[in-house]
Symmetry: C2
Subunit: 106 residues, 2 copies
């Protein structure tokens, strides 16, 4: 299954809150992610706020579109948006630009 | 299996070379990674040279130690080292500091 990696930046003054929220993601948000094909999905945070997302999915654009169409995602992203830098007012999930995979060992 | 994410920085003027080398990693390097427990290991490159590593392994410190003890790794890392920024003369694999995983959905 294809692998996807994206980067975002969490604001320094919201790091603790970001961690807390992601230790207790709403069950309906987890269900929506599962239902729309997000598999083995991890978020990793560096101390300066750089956030790495990694997931496996057959078609990332389709998984993003399906997730964006859910009501719970709109509520979740609206609550997360103020914690991010440089989104120009957009939702965090609109800034998930995939990096290029240059190596893979199964 | 625990998931590990680390970041490195490839020099802008070596990006093409880095990509080429990682499209043709030596078979004995791949064998050594497999033998020392590196699983589902990907490298993702952003256009500015930021490199994201992701892998799954039971014990990352043990996997790093075992890999560092191989002869092929020493040769590989010596050839890769000049392509990286900010390693202070060290080998790239000594700069693989794991980020904190703050979320996971299986």
């Amino acid at each position: 299954m294809p692998r996807v990696c994206f980067l975002l930046k969490v604001r320094q003054d919201r790091l603790a809150e970001y961690r807390e929220r992601h230790a207790a993601v709403w069950p309906e948000m987890l269900d929506a992610l599962r239902d729309t094909g997000w598999r083995n999905y991890s978020l990793f945070l560096r101390e300066d706020g750089l956030l790495v997302g990694y997931l496996e999915t057959d078609d990332f654009e389709a998984a993003q579109r399906a997730m964006a169409a859910t009501e719970v995602n709109a509520r979740w992203q609206a609550e997360m948006a103020p914690m991010f830098e440089g989104l120009d007012g957009g939702a965090p999930d609109s800034g998930m630009t995939p990096l290029t995979e240059v190596f893979h060992l199964p």
